[in-house]
């Protein structure tokens, strides 16, 4: 099986803009909605998610190609990926705690949440299905993370204005209007799709 013939730069841009992991693939919506209330937390979570996805993409690519495929244990891949993700998150937590307590204070509460963020597992399953090579996997991982980060920052910025607005109907306040906002953002991001198309 060969890796798809995709350039690095188009892949990176596509994973941020046209096939944004959140706005086009709906992954990571849960924490997206709950955290985006606060701009500062969004910033922290976005950074943490980007790091975790990038690192996990690299490790899972290696695990997939040197462990899962040679041993033909594809049926166990979900469990193995989840363990890798949980392990990476745990290690990252310890490393950050050791070397940068201030960053730990900022990210600490978000890190455990990332284990069950669908975006991380989603990226890994996509790179398995699409057969990316190592470089493509890492780029796709960081790109998707950055795309998620961009989306949550934009939404958090919009929400700080939106929550002050009283014109929103009572039944639509909070989650409802947030979902509609995400819908409009997704429409805006579809506008990029003429530029690059990478699947």
């Amino acid at each position: 099986m060969n890796a798809p013939n995709v350039g690095i730069l188009p892949l990176f841009l596509a994973s941020i803009l046209t096939s944004n992991i959140l706005l086009a693939n709906f992954l990571g919506t849960c924490s997206f909605i709950s955290i985006s209330k606060d701009f500062k937390s969004s910033m922290g979570l976005g950074l943490a998610v980007t790091m975790v996805i990038g690192i996990c993409a690299a490790i899972c690519w290696a695990v997939l190609n040197f462990l899962i495929r040679p041993l033909a244990i594809e049926y166990l891949s979900f469990i193995i990926f989840i363990i890798v993700i949980a392990g990476v998150v745990q290690m990252l937590e310890m490393i950050i705690d050791r070397f940068s307590p201030s960053l730990y204070m900022a990210l600490g509460i978000f890190l455990p949440l990332i284990t069950v963020n669908c975006a991380v597992l989603g990226v890994i399953l996509f790179l398995q299905i699409r057969n990316y090579n190592f470089l493509q996997s890492v780029i796709f991982g960081f790109g998707s993370g950055a795309g998620w980060w961009l989306a949550i920052m934009l939404l958090a910025a919009i929400r700080t204005k939106l929550d002050k607005n009283n014109a929103v109907p009572a039944g639509l306040k909070g989650t409802g209007i947030t979902l509609i906002t995400i819908g409009f953002m997704a429409m805006a991001f579809i506008g990029f799709s003429g530029m690059i198309a990478v699947q």
Binding site: F26, I79, L121, F126, A170, L179, G183, A186, M187
Partner: protein, 219 residues
Amino acid sequence: MSPARKVLREGLWSNNPIFVQVLGICSTLAVTNNLSNTLVMVLGVTFATAMGSWTLSLLKDLIPRKVRMIVQVLVLSFYVIIVDILLKAYQPAISKQLGPYVGLIITNCILMGRAEAFAAANKPGLSFLDGVANGLGYGWVLISIAFVRELLGFGTFFGLKVFGEGFTPWTIMVMAPSAFFLVALALWAANILKAKAEAAAKAPKPKAPGAASPAPAKQ
């Protein structure tokens, strides 16, 4: 109200995973432009939630608190793998279309949410029922959304043509934004119905708040 009925009612309506908890829309919303895929995903989620809650409820006294999360994830992924293997064996076409989204049931927040919020403190039988109720409560909302998206996006119902030749498909319904809009509209409808039910309950002669499902929101 008996505990079993209460659990069912909460899962299907008053504490519906989508309307109240806003959980788990990640992995399943992506497949709602097609009714049969949605149906398969909903059944998968229901199966995994129910069996996962049941197992975790059985194991709850054996799991040390420190490794609770990882044990939960492992148990849940075990059931998701069963779903995946069954699909690959019996519905290879659908399995291919769903792609990574079957595996993503593992990180569907509903599974973890129910394991943590309900199964950790209740008996196995009731936890199983709670899983079924939440899976179905989540399911009927998504199936309503898929119904609207497939009908308007492709002009079909389970792949059968509904409209005549003159029908122009709504491209937006096939694409991602419409799913967000429809969930928001469904949420809005649910909130209005709830507010009405509350107002009715406060009125001197309270009407029983109907557990009937609201019509799926139309655009």
